[in-house]
């Protein structure tokens, strides 16, 4: 008799074969210029339950370019494992043809060239078409939003997330969890979730004063679909008050809390759940570890680290689905739930090629309505991307957008050293594109945007760099608190990612003079996105806009100032 584990693995292999052929096929079809919506959406309905996962939209209502990372290093047990596989290695792993649409959507190489063929991706109106199409197949499909939805654009900032709430409501999600939403401030978050027609979940959102589950968020929600009871447990971003300004939401405490996750799984199983889904904003490596420690989870829908994977990862008997970011992808997961357990699944990472998938008219109208009051500001052209430059951020170390922002800080704030946060959001821009105010906001928008100017000793700068490096390269994912490496402007350095904290960073050099950073000397440092309350300075988008206006055409040379060892 085939065991459940064998079945899952067999099913996994089947999924891989199916996925691989699908990918190869898209490539050929695209080459013949016949990539169609039907191809992208084709899915043989399976089992009795469908999940639709979308996450980390970062308020990108319109189609965007988004370059996937070139450098995404794993340490410890994650070394060399997905999602820490990029470029050609990623394509070989999943059987993706070079030059295919999947090459463009999932890897960084030849990004500008392939972008001309395959165009922008995402757009909530295209996503609406996909969601409606899946619901035409399976009317009671469960739509789950992994969070980082109410953050990341000009209109989202100016409406305090209302534009995203209004448009997402048209998609009729069934539940949501959270991260950057909390940077709207806890009052605004409570105001928005009070009116949400779907569940706001987070088993790890606690009242900070009493260290008890916060009343404003439910740990889980039950759904009955196709005669099956499904429990969806929410897991918000665990390191909110550490990675983002805790003073904006002082009532709440977070953490991974996998003991309570186990309690919740046991509780819902005890209440008759035949399928347990975790809607997570942990990040992929944390989700992998959690799946190995918490028993009884069937599916983790993974967000936060922006990974897009064509196949789920399997940990024990849990499948982990990663659905990308910025609206580039939607995942559909069909499950066969029988006799109180998951017997098999079928999965597809659906790429939202905006020129192929038709826009949903109702959603387009809603997006236009949200943007209408701001159109003139959004569309004002500030500069142009040079023909030799692609602006991008995603990756463990400085992207070209970050270098441009650091240059803006150095020059506009008259500083020797600049620091820019290693966030994973922020769409890319292609050679020759006009840079509008909206584009600048897409990579800078946040509720703590002040560009500070201060003095720091060389020793303290080194301490910060070591601290941030440990938050990404600690071999235990539970000790990785958030984003990629802090982007340094005006400084070069060497990093050995396999060393412990205090020993990773060396050879810190001032690029302008070639001098080594002096631990005892004070330097003028400009940066933004400080988590400290009361940070003063101009808003970062104004700093960047002013800098780009002076440049006119923006050319950013490839960054050679970070030497990475131990990759």
């Amino acid at each position: 008799m085939i065991s459940r584990r064998d079945f899952l693995q067999a099913s996994m292999a089947a999924s891989a074969i199916w996925g691989a052929s699908g990918f190869g096929n898209w490539g050929r079809l695209a080459a013949q210029q016949v990539l169609t919506q039907d191809d992208l959406l084709s899915f043989e309905t399976f089992g009795n339950v469908s999940l639709i996962h979308i996450t980390d939209i970062h308020a990108q209502l319109k189609p965007i370019y988004f370059r996937e990372p070139e450098i995404n290093l794993g340490v410890g047990e994650s070394r060399g494992a997905v999602p820490h596989v990029t470029g050609a290695d990623f394509r070989r792993l999943y059987g993706i043809d070079d030059g295919s649409s999947s090459h463009y959507a999932l890897t960084y190489n030849d990004f500008a060239a392939l972008g001309k063929t395959y165009g922008k991706m995402g757009g909530l109106d295209r996503i609406a078409t996909v969601v409606k199409s899946i619901r035409a197949d399976r009317p009671d499909a469960i739509l789950l939003d992994g969070g980082d939805t109410w953050h990341g654009s000009y209109t989202c900032y100016h409406t305090q997330g209302q534009d995203m709430v209004n448009t997402m409501n048209l998609l009729k999600p069934d539940a949501m969890t959270f991260h950057w939403e909390f940077t709207l401030g806890s009052d605004r978050v409570r105001e928005l979730i009070a009116d949400l027609p779907y569940a706001s979940l987070g088993q790890n959102i606690f009242d900070s004063e009493w260290d008890e589950p916060a009343e404003d968020f439910a740990p889980y929600k039950f759904f009955e679909r196709g005669g099956v009871k499904i429990a969806v447990i929410g897991q918000a971003f665990p390191y909110m008050p550490i990675a983002n300004p805790g003073w904006m939401f002082p009532e709440y405490s977070f953490g991974i809390r996998d003991e309570r996750m186990q309690e919740m799984v046991d509780e819902v199983r005890g209440m008759g759940a035949e399928c347990v889904v975790v809607l997570s904003h942990n990040g992929f490596d944390v989700d992998k570890k959690m799946a190995s420690r918490v028993q009884g989870i069937d599916v983790i829908l993974s967000g936060h680290t922006h990974d897009a994977l064509p196949e789920p990862a399997l940990v024990g008997e849990t499948i982990i689905v990663a659905s990308g970011s910025n609206g580039k992808f939607v995942s559909r997961v069909d499950l066969d739930i029988r006799d109180g357990r998951m017997m098999g699944f079928r999965h597809k990472l659906i790429p939202i090629f905006s020129d192929v998938i038709e826009a949903d008219a109702e959603m387009t109208a809603a997006i236009d309505a949200e943007r209408a009051p701001y159109e003139a500001d959004l569309n004002e052209v500030v500069g142009t991307v040079a023909d030799d430059t692609t602006l991008f951020r995603r990756g463990n170390f400085n992207g070209s957008w970050d270098d441009l922002i650091c240059d803006a800080l150095l020059s506009e704030r008259d500083a020797e050293i600049a620091m820019s946060p290693g966030v994973r959001w922020g769409p890319s821009m292609m050679p020759g594109q006009q840079i509008t105010r909206e584009d600048i906001w897409n990579v800078t928008s946040m509720t703590y945007p002040n560009a500070y100017r201060t003095e720091m000793t060389g020793e303290f700068i080194h301490t910060i760099m070591e601290d941030v490096a440990d938050n990404i390269f600690n071999p235990d994912p539970y000790y990785q608190q958030g984003g990629d490496m802090v982007r340094m402007g005006g400084l070069g350095y060497r990093i050995d990612i396999n060393k412990p904290i205090g020993e990773r960073i060396s050879d810190i050099t001032l690029l302008k003079t070639g001098e080594t950073l002096d631990p005892s000397k004070s330097y003028v440092v400009a940066g933004w996105a400080s988590v400290n309350e009361g940070t003063e300075g101009p808003e970062i988008w104004d700093v960047v806009e002013s800098h780009i206006r002076k440049l006119g055409t923006v050319s950013v040379a490839p960054n050679t100032s970070v030497q990475v060892v131990g990759a």
Binding site: I242, E259, G422, T463, D470, G482
Partner: protein
Amino acid sequence: MKLTRRDSILLAMGASAAAMVPFTANAAVEDLINAFTGGAAVGDAGITLIAPEIAENGNTVPVEVDAPGAVAIMLLATGNPTPSVATFNFGPLAGSQSASTRIRLSKTQNVTAIAKMADGSFAQASSEVKVTIGGCGG
């Protein structure tokens, strides 16, 4: 004493610098453990210690320890200048042998709990709590 957030950030930053010194065996911690156990062997079964992986605020870190059947549990912050946090004693009528409290951690370190069981045996659990500057949240 009420610490302002700015104070706590500065503390956290100082703490982080201190954390770069590799963990060294702390004689004071060993002495405390020996005094509690009388030098007896210490197992690892029957005790659960729950602490955050990364402290949201190093000045007030919630920890919880549970050791069914224990008569006493000693809690240590092994990297603090004064590692001793508390010893909880449970009488025969105690409904459960668990305790929770909040502790201040000066830097990244192991929090250790040792339970003395009714039969005179000992069990230990440790959990590393990271104290970090924070920021840059993906």
